[in-house]
Amino acid sequence: METNQILEVKNLQLSFRLDAGVNHVIRDISFNLFKGETLAIVGESGSGKSVTTKAILGLIDDNGAVEEGSILFRLRENDKEEIVDLLHQSKSYMQKHIRGRKIAIIFQDPMTSLDPTMTIGKQIMESMLEHKLVKSKQEAKDRTKVLLELVGIDHPEKRMKQYPHQLSGGMRQRVVIAIALACEPDLLIADEPTTALDVTIQSQILELIKDIQKKTGVAIIFITHDLGVVANVADRVAVMYAGKLVEEGLAEEIYYNPKHPYTWGLLSSIPSMDSKEEEIESIPGSPPNLINPPKGDAFAYRSNYALAIDFEEIPPFFKISETHSVASWLYHPMAPKVEMPEVLQKRLAKYRTQKEV
């Protein structure tokens, strides 16, 4: 692991035993995360992105099993650094040293993520006290106040004594973020943190997350199904489909020079203010059942750009640039040249000019 990396997921394969068979949710994915950067993992529901984060936290349900791979994490404690494989740690080790302490998570729905019977102050203080980061209750209270201010909640004294149901959805999500930051983690996982919120609140929360990263330098994995949401937040983007990564690159590369037909589809389906109705295209069909994963490139079955080989063999990664790679046979030297759909080309051109202005 390079010194500036904080997390490296290598060849992760994970499956769940279900009534109907074994569900291969994650089929060999690898990615890494650098200190202080934001990586967006994008994909439809069921693509395995949330499971990946659960695997990082060691919160896989009992019927799940890691078949292969490793998740290496750079653990800094008292100026000592060591690299631990999170997949091979005991439950109690994960609970005592990792979860909440070094890696924290923000869930999707703030309406259900908070314990309805406990004041928000206590919920924020809980992890500091659990991980013995503070010496006294008073210190925990003081820190909580600072945290609430950091996440933009007024009158922290008063709010600490309130229960979740007394707060709006946006406020609750701020509280959830405060809980995540309570122990100054090195890695923050944001699992669709804005999906359940109103559009105006969404952008506020996104700004907040960006702002926090600037202030604390925490590395962020941002999980979303909506490429539009992370455009301004992510440094790098990884696109996931049916338990595999299909394209990975810097945010600019993904937004302005996407290569995988699936990424094209995702970008085409973002509704934008000025695009006319007919330009929004959704991807036909739905993701495959991973109990019996389709042969070859899983996306070929929904793609307009399928090649014969797609149905036979899983494509390897082809490098587009030092930072940009794509798993599609379309970039094999023998493949015919294809261009992204014209509608998308126009759209991306417009984005570019907007940005230059």
């Binding site: 909440g100 302490r101 998570i105 309805p116 019977t117 406990m118 992890s127």
Partner: protein, 311 residues
């Protein structure tokens, strides 16, 4: 909160009053009057008529009946058990032992139920869970008098640790077997209810977040899971009271406990209607009070209700 309590209290009173009216109407259909007693002297007849207005037309009778109950808690006189005694003097002295055994059973059953429920839910699909589930379904299915018979046969007769019937000289020890017999159903219901409830709570988003905070498993269950699950368990205390009352009848009969349960059975066997009516009223009042207490308790414990109602 105060408004909520007042409203609930008002409706409880309405229900109780409706019950009184129904009981009065019912009495009109029953054949029992003190005049069945041939030995009754003319003087005492006149006395009874003056007090209870038995010779009056329907509506005055109703008025007098209600007045007697509301002012003196007087439900008339006993027809057979202790002839010509005031019913309240027969019923009220026996209330204490019944209530005590009932509360003991409630406490024991709830305690065991919470224990089994937590063990079961937090070890879902293991042998511990199966054991608790089996114990619970047996407790729900087998009537309390069967437990009572079983316990008195084994621990009163075969292994005589306790006396088979209630022993006045040792009321505490004598109440052990009835308490256990009565508590089985409570234990089973609480186990079953808490298990489902806790499993649901443990699968909820906020528990996932607590786990993600790195809180240890014991605290996750005790501080967050159990607290939330127990709030719903309070709601079954009302219905459980009825089963306790029902159970007390047969259990008191089996052990000859001198409570109102066995008194009611006696009254039924001897057609002592005034006693039956008074006990019916006492039972209804107990049940309604319990429901009221549960509602208020719920309001106090659940912040969502407490704060919304503006405590």
């Amino acid at each position: 909160m105060l408004k909520f309590i007042t409203k609930r209290f008002f409706w409880s009173m309405v229900t109780l009053f409706t019950i009184l009216i129904l009981l009065f109407l019912l009495l009109q259909f029953l054949p029992g009057t003190p005049f069945n007693d041939e030995k009754l002297s003319e003087a005492s007849k006149a006395l009874l008529n003056a007090k209870y207005g038995l010779d009056q037309p329907f509506f005055s009778r109703f008025y007098i009946y209600m007045k007697n109950i509301l002012t003196e808690f007087d439900f008339g006189i006993s027809l057979s058990i202790q002839r010509n005694w005031m019913v309240k003097n027969i019923v009220l002295p026996r209330l204490g032992i019944s209530v005590r055994i009932g509360l003991q059973a409630l406490a024991l059953g709830t305690g065991m139920g919470v224990l089994f429920g937590v063990v079961s839910a937090s070890n879902k699909n293991t042998w511990l869970d199966t054991m608790a589930t089996v114990v619970a379904i047996i407790g729900v299915s087998i009537p309390s008098y069967v437990f009572a018979l079983l316990l008195s046969y084994t621990f009163g007769y075969k292994l005589p640790f306790f006396s088979i019937i209630f022993d006045f000289s040792d009321p505490i020890k004598s109440s052990i077997l009835p308490t256990i017999a009565l508590s089985m159903f409570v234990m089973a219901q609480v186990t079953r209810f808490l298990r489902t409830e806790l499993i649901e709570v443990l699968g909820s988003d906020y528990i996932r977040l607590v786990e993600a905070k790195g809180v240890n498993r014991f605290k996750v269950i005790a501080r967050h899971g159990l607290r939330n699950a127990l709030i719903s368990v309070i709601t079954i205390l009302g219905p459980l009271t009825v089963t306790l009352l029902t159970g007390s009848l047969v259990v008191e009969k089996v052990y000859a406990v001198p409570g109102i349960g066995s008194l009611l059975v006696n009254a039924i066997l001897t057609n002592d209607y005034n006693v039956i009516v008074m006990i019916a009223f006492v039972y209804s009042a107990l049940y309604i009070t319990m429901n009221l207490v549960v509602d208020i308790l719920y309001g106090i414990i659940d912040p969502r209700i407490r704060v919304a109602k503006g405590a």
